[in-house]
Amino acid sequence: MPPGTKVFDFDWLFGHFGQIGERLVQHLQLTILPLVLGIIISLVLAVWAVRQPRVYAPVTAITGLLYTIPSLAAFAVLRPITGLSLLTAIIPLTTYTLLILFRSFAAGFTAVPAEILEAAEGMGYTRRQRLFRVELPLAVPLIIAGVRLASVTTIGLATIAAVLGDAFGGLGQLITEGIQGFFPTKYLLGAALSVLLAFAADFLFVRFERVVTPWAHAKAGVR
């Protein structure tokens, strides 16, 4: 740091609310879109894997393999193919959610005790009714735990999308610009906001889970 630079310049902060807000909105976009896509894909895969247990191992292996691709490389590799479009950021961010979401969804569905399923069958539920009225509600805590972890992970990985350039932005862009310009205020702000965003998402899902699954309160212990 050159001597004389303030570690945190509050005047800059107050003068740039517009820019900061824009980055924050971009970051939310980079988080929510992949998360929604990931949830839809994983839900389909998980339901499939529960019906056809053979499917579980290959899906885990493939989503696991996708997960080992370093995020930096995934963005870099896609850039020449999909160009400087939002898609280049969304594709890897979506694939990174799949392993977490698929495993937790599948675990949620298989965690439903066999007696309960039999009881539902005994009551004359069709397979579809059983899925929506019994299996899904009981799987909710594990599903939300998965979504929570996936959202926090995506918020973190989205900061790296900024290496692709200004077009994607997000809070990572503030960090990258701050580092390149030797301006600590900017990168510290980007970092702090991404941390706060991750905490907020985490907190939100914990609350949400409590609200939608009042019956699971008692065993909420170690999470």
């Binding site: 930096l72 995934a74 580092i179 970092a191 991404s194």
Partner: protein, 258 residues
């Protein structure tokens, strides 16, 4: 694809500070050091709270908070400090940019899975066994060493695998801070436009192979460390030994199951 083959067969990419061997070494050094330091911090704490069950809520909550912090953010937060401490502590300022912050962030990244798995491993031990040990006159230390640790070891190594995978994969972004390691092939390739594509692919292949290779070795270690009586048959159902690629710490969504 031809470009990638050319990249790997070009002798220039196998020598010097920017060659594959040196980048691999840099990657191993920063990952290894961070994981070693994280293990020294997290495992004793995990053993203590797992054995006594004291302060477990606090420790697990802190670990969860740690997990939520984006790694890229974690790398730049200590930056003002590591840069301005250089003249005070007398190290090279570049060391405060391209090594220290990355090392700190990676250590921080490895602590939660190690801490949580050590704790979960110890808590997974059947209380009756511990009571039996106490009844036989074992001291607390002996209970920890002879009963709890052997039974928990495979879960602890499971956490070590997760931590290692995460650190190896995440250390690549250290290249953004001009750090060394395999991430350089990716980041440098990114800055070369179209010409850099093969370097990007090669970097990705190298990092992924390193992660998978290290994980394979660790999965062997994990199996070895599991007491024979507790070993699962080689091919078991859906909850078999973590797949070749462990991925993120799934202890959370799976509700604490290893």
């Amino acid at each position: 694809m031809d470009g990638v083959v050319a990249f790997f067969t070009d002798p220039a990419n196998w020598q010097g500070t920017t060659g594959i061997p040196n980048r691999l070494l840099e990657h191993l050094v920063i990952s290894g050091l961070s994981i070693a330091v994280a293990t020294l911090i997290a495992v004793p704490i995990g053993l203590y709270i797992g054995h006594t069950n004291r302060g477990s809520g606090l420790a697990i909550n802190l670990a969860n908070i740690g997990r939520a912090i984006p790694s890229y953010a974690m790398m730049v937060i200590p930056l003002p400090l590591t840069l301005s401490l250089a003249p005070v502590l007398g190290y090279d300022p570049t060391f405060g940019l391209d090594f220290l912050p990355i090392f700190l962030a990676m250590t921080f990244l490895a602590i939660p899975p190690l801490l949580v798995s050590t704790y979960a491993g110890l808590r997974s031990v059947d209380r009756d066994l511990i009571e039996a040990g106490r009844g036989m006159g074992l001291r607390e230390r002996q209970i920890l060493g002879r009963i709890e640790l052997p039974i928990a070891s495979s879960i602890i190594v499971g956490g070590f695998r997760t931590a290692t995978l995460q650190v190896i994969a995440t250390a690549t972004i250290g290249a953004i801070l001009s750090g060394g390691g395999l991430g350089r092939f990716i980041f440098d390739g990114l800055n070369q436009g179209l010409a850099g594509r093969s370097s990007i692919y090669a970097g990705a292949i190298l990092v992924a192979s390193l992660a998978i290779g290290v994980d394979l070795v660790l999965s062997r270690v994990q199996r070895r460390l599991t007491p024979v009586a507790l070993r699962a048959p080689r091919r078991s159902g859906r909850s078999g030994p973590a797949s070749v690629v462990g991925g993120p710490d799934l202890a959370a969504p799976a509700g604490g199951a290893a």
